[in-house]
Amino acid sequence: MSKTKCLGWRVVLVAGVLLAVSAQAARAVPAFARKYQTSCQTCHVAYPKLNTFGQAFRVLGYRMPGETEAQVKRPDVALGAPAYKRAWPKAVWPGAIPSSVPISIASEFLVQNSSRLEDGEIEKVKNEFLFPSEVALILAGTAGENISYFGEIGFSRAVEGGVIENEVEVEHFDVRLVRPIRGSIAFNVKIGAFQPELVSTFDHARRLTVANYDSMFSVNPIGLEGAESVGGSGDHGGGAGLSLPTIATGFEFYGVIRGRLFWTAGLVNGLGPGEETFDGNSGKDVYGRLSYKWGGLAVDGSNSESYAGSSKNWRERSFSVGAFGYSGDGSDLLVPIAGEDGQEAHAKQLRSNASARQRLFQTDGELEGSFIEDRDFTRIGVDFNWYFDDLNLFGAYFRAEDDLRVFAASPGLGRRGQLLPDSGGTFNFDSWFLEADAVLRFPWLHGALRYEAVGFDNADDWERVVCSVTGLIRANVKTTVEYNLDLNNSDNHSYWLNFGIAF
């Protein structure tokens, strides 16, 4: 096998491993159904996938477009009469809390049959009952007229080599200031760990499929040469890839201008030097996205009174297009390359000791292991979202450039400071996917077909097809049958039967 092929396999495996453990996110929020005494289908096509009304509800900080007091069947408990606004600053600004505890529970049960090629060996899993694969406590609501919050505590289980791995995690929690300036939706702020609006067109938490958008979230250039996955509160996959963040920690600003133009910008923590680690350097990552929607319900639902839409609330004829960019700073984060004695201990020392890191750069001493650094990386891309009645076709593409450096003790991997894998010092790849979701004749039957691909400049490409059918047994109970196949290696494939409930 050539060197480049080897690189390619390593990258693919990062995605493959993640795929096996990424149980379907279940981010429906039944607490809102209770608050408004309405069905899940008011906002969801098939939970957790949102319809356009649900998207507007989310953008508005979990408030209905043109919301009236009468629509809120379980009003919040006022923490002060509204007139106290006029008494401010001599009084506390009036707030509110939900009348019932804003907690929802979503659970997933997964039957898995998979085949995976790893280091030349095929690992097969048959009839694996992950019951449950995930139980999530979802906290979401409003706290007065300008404050919203959304969080999730997940209890997930996965099986690796016959060993159950349990995990409890605060997956995300953010507080957002909605319409803080003159009541305008043009400017809003999120603070916390959140699903960034950067990827809202293909938000992993609201997908119809069990399989995640691995082409978008799970490609890990640092995984080249066998380095361990990176983590960090930027959660570029939570110890998985660093393609685009599924969860970002920091500040995000976003808004809707004239109902159609959506913008977002973020300043967030970046990579950590290893799995389960926090932002490892003082540099921050930044991102931005701009999109425009033609037709259909306005992004902020501002035309909800005049827009008749369809009698089927998932139907719409509209088209959105967006452009986005992400710039990350991974300098001084030395990720150990696996398989060499002592490198873990050295890596730990390097993570906590800046002068040790400096010596690595400046002295000629022997290295206790080999390391890889992603000094800076950029992701530039576009996305689109087309609704045509029962069909929703959407996709995204981005070009990635990573400035990688390898610090190698082993001659086989190169010299200290040598730039790999190409002479230019950059590692490039292109990721894209195209997905067609459709309501299949009945409103309770939904199909999804996705093609996704990653093209590496210096390694083999990766391609996958995902085919999924979801049936809503009830508005809050569903089952999904799904198959996915690595098009470049038929030994990598999975069948899943998923059952979910949210309440």
């Binding site: 009236t68 009468a70 629509q71 009469a81 007139a83 106290y84 006029r86």
Partner: protein, 196 residues
Amino acid sequence: MKKSVAILVFIALTSSATVASAGSLSGKVTAVGKRSNADAVVYVDTIPGKKFEPPKERARMDQIDMVFTPRVLPVVVGATVEFNNSDSVAHNVFTVDDCADLFDLGSWSGGEAPRSQTFDQPCAAVILCNVHPEMEGFVVAVPTPYFAVSEATGSYTIEGLPDGNYTIKVWHPTLKLLTRKVEVKGATSADFTLKK
């Protein structure tokens, strides 16, 4: 006996005839987007050439179970409102409205004597209790004694309103003030729709 019955019947007939000639205004207020149509004050605005003296009897707003009762109290300009505390906990009464001179009656315990405030200009004053910030009431001082507060269904009735052309105003704690000309002739009906 027969004579006295006849006198009573005569008195009853004549008095009801007097009321009928004064007329009334009734109808329904719709508060768009609200859970209830209650708490709208429908009142006759200033009548040119007429000035109404405030009643000698004081109006009364109580604090019962940590709620201002009634929540909305219309009075004639110049009237004095007595604020009572029927609870077992201390309450305070104050406003943030200039038109009510930003009054603050201080705090007092249940069972203590009521405290009062005169509203000597047209005003929709929010009434707050700084001990319990969620409490909220309104005293609406209007220029004429012709007013009514809508019920939850939205229905209202202003009795004893002489026939004539009036400017009717409808005030609500959170909706836009509505103004409309209405001709009252006997028992007259008028509905109003309030919006944000």
